[in-house]
Amino acid sequence: MSIEVRNLVKKFDDKVVINDISFKVSDGEVLAIVGFSGSGKSTVLKLISGLIPYDSGEILTSSGDIAMVFQYSALFDSLNVFDNISFALRERKDLRKKYSKNDLQKIVAQKLELVGLKGIENKFPSELSGGMQKRVSFARAIVTNPNTILYDEPTAGLDPMSSTLIEDYIVSLKHEINAASIVVTHQMSTILRTADRVIMLYDGKIVFEGTPTDLLKQDTPYTKQFVTASLEGPMKMKA
């Protein structure tokens, strides 16, 4: 077990946004959380990463770091790529004295090579394309060799080729560091190319759980509506 979520509930004021959901993700497994906008997908990631507190339930994780790749990369725009990637190693109290400048340079170079961006240490985020920023944010996320990686819409806003590249990195990272990964997305290509399992959220509840192949079978009204992107079905778009 790497992540186990049990009976998780989150309310904003009186509105229940996550309503008693439970799931597990094992080491080396990629779970895709899908659903229409406003279904609570990103909230689940924020709860697991500890950015927001939950009201009830449990989140159990194996010891080790949790990393997160944000939807819009969230690179520190006042720092260059080297400082962005080495940020946790330089600023975390338990790590800051562990690495020399040479060590940091080697680690950053190695992580950049892993995401196919050699030699851009001195560039600033504003000098990079959206796809490159996303890959740098991957490198920053994996710098501490986490055992859980959370991806918030990793391919949103990218062109198809960049999306494919990012999807390949998610799969290769799964093999490289054997981390448990959760990918929040609503892009079919990302689900099919990266996920081992899929859960679908609607109104804060899990309405489908299965493999990507099961999703494509459209056996339930929810999966049928999602795959066909239909406005007709049990899931209503919020105004």
């Binding site: 924020k46 990463s49 500890g50 950015l51 770091d65 949790i66 990393a67 997160m68 944000f70 939807q71 819009y72 969230a74 690179l75 520190f76 725009d77 940020f87 946790a88 600023e91 975390r92 109290k93 920053r140 501490t144």
Partner: protein, 269 residues
Amino acid sequence: MISLAQYIKKSATYKIFSNIFEECIKFLNTIGQIAQIGFHLIKCILRDGISFKELAYQCERFGISSLPITLSIVGMTSIIVSSQVANEMVKQGGADFIGLLMTILIVREVGAVMSGFAITSMIGSSLASELATMRVTEQVDAIDVLSVDSVGYLFIPRVLSGIIMMPLIVIVASAIGIVLGGITSNLFSGLTYRAYFTSVWLGLYMKDLFVSIIKSAVFGGAIALISCTCGYYASGGAKGVGIATTKAVVWSFIAIVVWDMVFAMLFFF
């Protein structure tokens, strides 16, 4: 048929009082946020220490970039006051006290307060918009997810730079203000430099200097803490950044006036 409760809710008086109540809640909420961050900041300093590299960068930003505007504002205020006062004082036979009056005015009040206003508009707004942008673009969340305390990382160097740099800026601005007061008095009322600066020494008390330095440090810390807190709790995109910046400037101005009143009561009553 409209019920009494609905009628009351629709009335202008109800709306006015409900708005006042809402503003009071927001006011208390902001004070709570600033206090909470302040305590957390002290905890972070004791627990994690200080990053001197980042502190040096913030000191440079706080001091160097705000110096021209601060000196201009304090200097011009001094010119305005001395041009108004010098003629009258000479007419009333009080020419010997112009330097003394200007010194007390600048060291006790104008230097610190006008510098505070200048630094709020220059640095406070910049700190608030910087942190607010970091918040709405999830950079603050990214710091937290990387297991680095975002309050410690963002606030310690900024608040400490305010505490360190503000007294230095105020000392320089006050000195320039006093000198410009002398030049203006000479030009407008023919007062000799010797008479002016002899009088300046009479009005320069150690206690005033000490209070001015302490007050400036408090102003600097308050401006940085308030501005960073307003930015840190921003939400809602570009509009949220604008709201946070405005709030930071207004709250910093209020804090300067309130602290100035506290210091006046503590040391000069």
